[in-house]
Amino acid sequence: MLEYLQQPFFRNAVIAGLLIAGICSYLGVYVVLKRIVFVGAALAQISSSGVALALLLGFSPILFSLLSSLLGIALFSLIPVRKKIPMEGIIGVSYITASALGVLFVAKNPVGEARALNFLFGNILTVPEKEIVLLVSVALSIGLVHYLFYKEFILVSFDYEMAQAQRISAGLWDLLLYLTLGVTIAFSIKSAGILIVFAFLVVPAVTARLVTDKIKWVFALAILFGGLATVLGLYLSVIFDLPSGSAIVATSVGILVLVTSLNTLKDLPKALKLSLILVAIGGGLNVQMDRVAGGELSPETLEPSPGPPPALQEPLPQAPISRQPPPPQRTGFLQSLNPDMRVEVNFIGNKTFQGEGSGEEAETLRNRFSLKEVELGLQAAVDPYARADVFFSGEDLLGEESQVSLEEAWLTLLRLPLRAQARLGKFRSLFGEINDRDPAEFPFVDRPLVLVNYFGDEGDIETGVVSNFVIPNPWETHMLLWLGIYNGDNEVAFHGGEARKPAYFSRFEVFRELGPATGFEVGTAVITGFNDPEGEFRTTMENFHVELEWKHPVFSEYKSFDWVGEIFLSQREGTGGTEDTLGLYTFAQYQLTRRWFLSSRYDYSQLPIDRDSREWAVSGIVTFQPSRFSQVRVQYKHTNRNFDENEENVDENVEEVFFQFRFVIGFERPEPF
C-alpha cells in the first residue's frame, strides 16, 4: 500500500476519494433518512449530463455540473406538486431525461466518445492536484455549513411540520440542505463520476444505520465506511487491474454485506460487532499485502490508464532488471506451468558510401542485409521469491559465421532484506545507461562508438552477482545503489575471465520527477578489474549519465522528448603505464506524432589503449513505430576518425545509411528508465 502511495496519481486518487467519500457519505445519512435516495440519484444524473453538455460545448465541466445540479434542486423544490402526480413521478422523469441527454451529448462529442465517457463516468485515478484543492474547499465549506446548522437540518429532516409550527424557516433550511447536497454532487461527479457519487450517497449511510441507533455515530461511521471503501477499493483496483469506480462501489457493498451478516448475531455487544467488522476488513487488506509482498502480485503491474499517465514509469525495479514478468493474472491456466516466451528479430541493412566503419560488427553489416540477431527469451517465476530469465541468441544467421549461443541467463531474487533484489548468472553488466539494454532496444541502429571501443561489439556481458538497494530518503527522490562482483568476462575491457580475479562494480542513481510530466535522472558507476590473463594490470572505468524525459501531460502517447548524455572515463594500466581516456555520446529524441520519432546522436571516443586515436560521429535518425511490437528505422551516420586499422594517423570520413526492421512476438520488455 505504502509503495503505491509514493505514486503521485495514486496518492491524488486516495486524497480525492477520501474527500468525496467523506462529504457524500455524510450527506448520504440525510439522503437515506429523509428517504430521498431517488432524489440523490436524479441529481447525480442531472449533474453528470451537465458535465456532458459542458464537454460538448467546450465550457467548464465543473461550472455546468454545478449549474445543472442547482437547476435540478430548483426543479424539485419549486414545481408545485400536483394531486395526480406524486413527487417521485417528477423525479423519475427528470432522471430519465437527464440520462438520455447525457448519452446524446456524449454521442455528439467531437472529442470522441471514449474520452467524453471517461470524463462523464469519472476516473478517480486521473484527478489532477488542482481539483483536489477545489474538493478540499468544497468539503470545508459543506462541513462548516453542516457544523453550524446541524440542529436545523436534523429538525427539518426529522419533523418538517414541527419546524414549521415552531416558526423555524423550515422551507429555507430544507433548501439549504438540498443546496449543500447539490453542490457536493456537482463537484464530486466531475472528479469521481456518477457511480461512485451515488454509491457514497447511499451505501455507507445504510451500513452505518444498521450498526448504530445513535445519530452522531451514524454520521461518523458512514464517513468511516465510505473512507474504508475508497482506500480498499482503490487498492484492489490497482492490484487486480479493475476499473477503480466499480471496485470502490463493490468494496462499499462488500462492507455492507459484512455488516449485515454480523448484525444477525444479535447477542453480540455493538462495540464487539464493530471491532469484528474492522478486524475483518483489516484482515482482508493484510492478505492482499502479503500476496504483493510475496511477489505473487507485483507493484510493477501498476499502470494508470486511460487518461494522462504519469510522465515516467517508476524507475525502481526496472532500471536494474530490465526484463519484467508479465502481470500474473494475464497468464492462462494451461500456460501457467510453462515459461513465457518471446522472440525478437533485429534485421539491419547497411549502405556505406565512403570509408569503412570500425570494428567487427561494422565489417559484418557493411553493404548488405543482415539478420543481425534472432533472440529467444524464456521467462518464468521460480517461486514467489524468484524469477528466471534465459535468452538464446542467434547472430548473423545469414552470414557465414552464424552461431546460436546462450546470450544471457539469470535468476532474480525479488525479495531480500533491506528492500534489496539480487541477480545471479550471466547478464549485461549495468555499467552505463545504454549498456544494460539489449541492442535491439536501442533508440538507434548502431552501438555508440564509445561502447564499441571500450567493450567491443557485444557490450559488457558478465557472469556474476549484482544486487540493488532502494535508499530511503525524505526528498521524494528515488535513490538506488547497485553493488556487484563479476568475472571480468569482457575481452576488450578485462581479461575475458582468464585471470581468476574478479571485477567489482558499483552504480548509484537518483531519479526525481520535475512536475507531473517531466522526469530527471542522474547516475554514476564505477567498474574495476584486470585486463590481462595474468591479472597484473588494472582497468578502472567511471561512468556519468544523465537523462531527461518529458511527456505531454495530456497527449502523452503523441508528444514526448527524451535526452540522454553519458560520459565514460577509462584508466587502463599496461606495460607502458596508465592510459587515461574518455568517450561520450549524447542523444536526443523528439516524438512528432504517435508513431513518428526524430532523433540525433553525437559520439566522441578515444581508444582505451591509445588516447591519441579518436573518432567522432553524428547521426540523424527517423523512426516509425506502428506498434510497440514493431519498428522501422533509418539512420544516417557521418564518422570521422584519425586512425586506421593499423593505428596509424589518417583523417578518414565514413558516410553510411542504416535501415532497421525489428519486431517482437511474445512478452514485451518494458521501457527502461
Binding site: 440542529k151 436545523e152 419533523d159 409550527a165 415552531q166 416558526r167 451514524v218
Partner: protein, 271 residues
C-alpha cells in the same frame, strides 16, 4: 373564542377540518378566508387584536368569524407578535427511522429559542429533562425513540412541545391508536399538565386538542368546538347535547352519565 387557561376540545366527524384548523392556528397553513386573531387581555394594550406573526405595531382588523385565541401581552421580544405554541403531532406521523434518542427529540423543542448556530446548552438540557419528568419519561431519556411504545412516543412529543415553554399546547389526536388504559392515562396526563405545568406560569396551561373521540372531550375539555359545515362553540355542557350531536353526525347520538363519566353513544340506546 378560546381564553387563556382554557382546556379546549375541537371535535367533528372525519374530514370536517380539525387538523386543518390546528394547522391554521399554528400558521403551518394559511387560512383561505379569514384570520386567526389574538387579543391582549389585561395589562398594557388591553383589547388590542393582532394576527399572529404580524409586525408589532400593526393592529388587527375586525373579526371575520374565525376562532380567536386570547393571550397575555409582552410574551415575546421578537419584532413580530409571536406566541409560543407547543405543537404535538400524532406519534405515528413522525418519522420512524431517524436514530434519535428521546432526549434528542425533546431538545428540538428548544431550537426556536436558541436560534440558528447555537447548540443546546446545559440550561436547555435541564428544561428538556424537566419536560420529560412532567410526562413521566425521565428514565427513558437516553433510549432510542424508535424502541418506545406508541404511548411513550406520544409522551415524548408532548415533552418536546413542553420544552418550548409554550403558552398554548396544541395536540392533534393525542390518543390515536391507543387502548382504553393508555387513552385514559394520556388524558390524565394532559389534564395534569393543564393544571400543574400551567400553574408554574401563573395560571392553567392553555390546551387546544383536536380529536374525533367525543368521550374524551366530554370528560376533559372545559370548552369545545364542533366542526361541521360551520362551527358550534361554547362550554362543553352547553354544546355537547343530544340535539347538537345528532345534527352534526346525522344519526341519533345521546350523551349519558355512567359512573360519574360522560359517555357518548350512538343509536339512541338507553343506559
Amino acid at each position: 373564542m378560546i381564553h387563556e387557561g382554557d382546556f379546549f376540545g375541537i371535535v367533528g366527524p372525519n374530514g370536517s377540518g380539525k387538523t386543518t384548523l390546528l394547522k391554521a392556528i399554528l400558521r403551518v397553513l394559511k387560512p383561505q378566508q379569514g384570520k386567526i386573531l389574538f387579543r391582549v387581555e389585561g395589562g398594557q394594550g388591553e383589547g388590542e387584536e393582532y394576527e399572529e406573526g404580524s409586525p408589532r405595531d400593526t393592529r388587527g382588523q375586525g373579526n371575520a368569524g374565525t376562532p380567536s385565541v386570547s393571550a397575555s401581552p409582552a410574551l415575546s421580544r421578537s419584532p413580530v407578535r409571536e406566541l409560543s405554541l407547543g405543537y404535538v403531532p400524532q406519534h405515528n406521523q413522525v418519522d420512524q427511522i431517524f436514530p434519535l434518542s428521546v432526549l434528542d427529540i425533546v431538545l428540538m423543542g428548544r431550537f426556536k429559542k436558541l436560534g440558528p448556530w447555537r447548540k443546546p446548552g446545559k440550561w436547555d438540557r435541564q428544561v428538556a429533562l424537566k419536560s420529560l419528568d412532567h410526562v413521566g419519561l425521565l428514565h427513558l431519556a437516553a433510549k432510542s425513540f424508535q424502541e418506545l411504545s406508541g404511548g411513550q412516543k406520544q409522551r415524548t412529543l408532548i415533552a418536546r412541545a413542553l420544552a418550548a415553554e409554550p403558552q398554548i399546547l396544541i395536540l392533534d389526536e393525542p390518543t390515536s391508536g391507543m387502548d382504553l388504559t393508555s387513552e385514559k392515562k394520556m388524558m390524565e396526563l394532559i389534564r395534569a399538565l393543564h393544571e400543574r405545568v400551567g400553574v408554574d406560569n401563573g395560571g392553567p396551561l392553555t390546551i387546544i386538542m383536536a380529536t374525533h373521540n367525543l368521550n374524551l372531550v366530554a370528560n376533559y375539555a372545559k370548552k369545545i368546538a364542533i366542526l361541521h359545515q360551520g362551527i358550534v362553540l361554547g362550554p362543553t355542557e352547553e354544546i355537547l347535547t343530544d340535539e347538537n350531536l345528532s345534527k352534526v353526525y346525522q344519526t341519533k347520538v345521546s350523551v349519558r352519565v355512567v359512573d360519574g363519566s360522560k359517555v357518548v353513544i350512538t343509536g339512541g340506546a338507553e343506559c
